[in-house]
């Protein structure tokens, strides 16, 4: 759970972690509507992203097999997990900061 009163919390949804949204559990759906959401799909079937599309809720989408992992073959090691997490974090940070240049000209 995010901090109480937190503004624009980030919520992360892996494949198996989005069943609650797919089941239309109201608490999860309403939470997602007011958060920045990250969908991490294991493969190009893209179940998590499709669940968000179904709800009409914006999401930052990542597909691990498009990021160099091979389904069923790439070992789940701390190194691989950290590499993926870092890549996603860098990209979402870049997207979140887009248009927030330090020169105050709105670029």
């Amino acid at each position: 759970m995010s901090n109480c009163c937190g503004e624009s919390a980030w919520l992360i949804y892996p494949c198996s972690g989005s069943a609650d949204l797919g089941a239309h559990i109201s608490g999860f759906v309403e939470s997602a509507k007011n958060a920045q959401n990250i969908a991490i799909d294991g493969c190009q079937v893209g179940c998590v992203t499709k669940i968000f599309e179904h709800h009409g809720i914006p999401v930052h989408s990542y597909v691990l097999t498009e990021m160099g992992l091979v389904k069923g073959k790439t070992p789940v090691t701390p190194e691989v997990v950290n590499k993926m997490a870092e890549a996603i974090m860098v990209d979402t940070t870049r997207k979140a900061n887009k248009g927030k240049g330090s020169c105050s000209c709105g670029c």
Binding site: M1, C4, S26, G27, V29, S31, K33, A35
Partner: protein
């Protein structure tokens, strides 16, 4: 009607409680308004951001303070079955 305000006691949760009280009084509906402050009870609703407004067991908003007009709409509109 049972209305629950989910929140651990922060200013925004208190504000939502106040606005909901006003919306109920002004719309003239019969409703029981309950504060839910225990984190485990809040988690049972699947709510990941507070404050949240629950009407008859259904989470209507989470992570924001709706306007009084929105609250009135949420508590007076009957769910589509």
């Amino acid at each position: 009607m049972k209305i629950e305000i989910l929140g651990t006691g922060c200013p925004k949760c208190k504000k939502l409680y106040e606005l909901t009280n006003e919306a109920v009084k002004e719309s003239g509906i019969q409703a029981e308004i309950i504060k839910v402050e225990k984190i485990t009870d809040i988690m049972n609703y699947g709510v990941m951001m507070t404050p949240a407004l629950v009407v008859d067991g259904v989470v209507k908003t989470a992570g924001k303070i709706p306007s009084k007009a929105e609250i009135t709409n949420l508590i007076t509109t009957k769910p589509v079955k």
